[in-house]
């Protein structure tokens, strides 16, 4: 199963795609970081793969 992540450009916190997709737009979960992270910031192929297999990233 392809695991997709995104790194916050401000603090380096790494966020799994399932977390990003849940929120679409979210404040970086790094403590004290004010960066806004967006699911749309993932590469297009990663977004498409995630959305096509969305059920597998849920529990």
């Amino acid at each position: 199963m392809r695991i997709i992540t995104h790194s916050c450009p401000a603090c380096g916190t790494i966020v799994a795609a399932n977390e990003l997709e849940n929120n679409r737009v979210m404040k970086c979960p790094g403590l004290g970081c004010q960066e806004v992270l967006r699911f749309e910031e993932l590469p297009e192929d990663a977004r498409e793969h995630f959305l096509e297999n969305r059920d597998r990233y849920q529990i």
Binding site: M1, I3, T5, T13, I14, L31
Partner: protein, 357 residues
């Protein structure tokens, strides 16, 4: 070599303690379980650590560990979100790990011997992975490894009816970056998770050698209240304890006692170690603190007899009674009902609490 420290999970078996915080921050001998893992990784020479966060307790864990500088390590946080399995957690660390090898350490586990020997054993060969094993009396209840004469793993079997060995996987692993391709090829198991044992099995099938290291000292998964108490007992038994606080004349102490310099054992109190008493705590007259007890910070004990127990902290325990084999959460208070009418115990008990009266 890097470290990946798993700090997710719901802590459901530790409720109600984990209603208000992650299980990895429950203290053992007045030190959060997670800090033992950081110490072990650092002792093994690992100073770049990725901490995997789940859906619970993210802020508390980040507040405790910070950027790692107070421990002499460099911490990167990795938010896994949904608990999709250990292999998913490892996969989330791919960008952090890069081309390095890495130790994967379950953050709610404590083991006496640390991970240095596991790392050295892995680095002595050309392995795809290394796994820590421990001999157990009931192998049917564990994931079991079969190993050859050279100590290489030949097969992993989950809870076998007819176990080939009594060597159980204990949740400490070393991986080469090859594991990430194995994880990419995994499918979720029947429980919807990516299983780390499936990733190791895949490495085996791809021809990688898997090292094994049998851990001889104690190891505890601190997932349940009784495990916290046992881990507390084991750590107090093994740790050097220093009495820095005030032991008043007329107080009776015996055995090894950790007493923070801001804490007091007052005249008329009895403390028998091994025991740990954290900062700003007072053990008042008439109190007995027995062996294998840890009392957290900012607490006051008066009249109570307590032993083989963990008080997490910020507690007032002033009843005239006996508390044994107990785990008391932060801000839990136990007062006397003497003189109150009607007679009887008065309880405010949270969900999932367990009381034996």
């Amino acid at each position: 070599m890097k470290g990946v420290l798993l700090s997710g999970g719901t802590g459901s078996r530790l409720r109600p303690i984990t209603h208000t915080g992650p299980k990895q921050l429950v203290p053992v001998a007045n030190k959060p379980v997670l800090e033992y893992a950081i110490d072990d990784l650092k002792e093994a020479g690992i100073t770049e650590i990725g901490v995997i966060l789940g859906n619970k307790g993210r802020d508390e864990i980040q507040e405790l560990l910070g950027d790692g500088s107070k421990y002499g390590v460099d911490i990167t946080y990795i938010v896994q979100g949904n608990p999709l399995g250990l292999a998913h957690a490892a996969g989330c660390a791919r960008d952090f790990v890069g081309d390095d090898n890495f130790v994967m350490y379950l953050g709610d586990n404590i083991l006496k011997s640390g991970v240095t020997d596991l790392v050295e054993s892995f680095e002595a060969g050309d392995y795809g992975a290394g796994i820590a094993l421990q001999e157990v009396e009931n192998p049917q209840a564990f994931g079991i490894a079969d190993v050859d004469d050279a100590g290489n793993v030949t097969e992993l079997i989950e809870k076998p009816d007819d176990p080939p060995t009594n060597l159980a996987l204990i949740g400490m692993y070393v991986f080469s970056p090859a594991v990430f391709d194995a994880i990419d090829d995994l499918e979720p198991s029947w429980r919807g998770e990516l299983e780390i044992t499936d990733a190791i099995q895949s490495l085996l099938e791809d021809g990688y050698e898997i090292d094994s290291h049998v851990v001889t000292g104690w190891w505890k998964d601190t997932g349940k209240p009784e495990d916290i108490l046992e881990a507390n007992r084991l750590v107090l038994e093994d740790t050097e304890l220093n009495t820095a606080g005030v032991v008043e004349d007329g107080a009776e102490t015996d055995g090894r006692i950790e007493l923070a310099d801001s804490s007091v054992i007052e005249d008329g109190a009895v403390v028998r170690g091994p025991a740990s008493i954290a900062e700003n705590t007072t053990i008042k007259s008439g109190t007995y603190v027995g062996p294998y007890t840890s009392i957290g910070a900012n607490s006051t004990l008066e009249e109570i007899h307590i032993e083989n127990s963990v008080v997490i902290g910020d507690s007032e325990i002033t009843a005239n009674g006996r508390i044994v084999d107990s785990l008391l959460g932060r801000n839990a208070n136990v007062e006397s009902a003497d003189g109150l009418l009607p007679e009887g115990r008065r309880l405010v008990v949270g969900e999932n609490s367990q009381l034996k009266l």
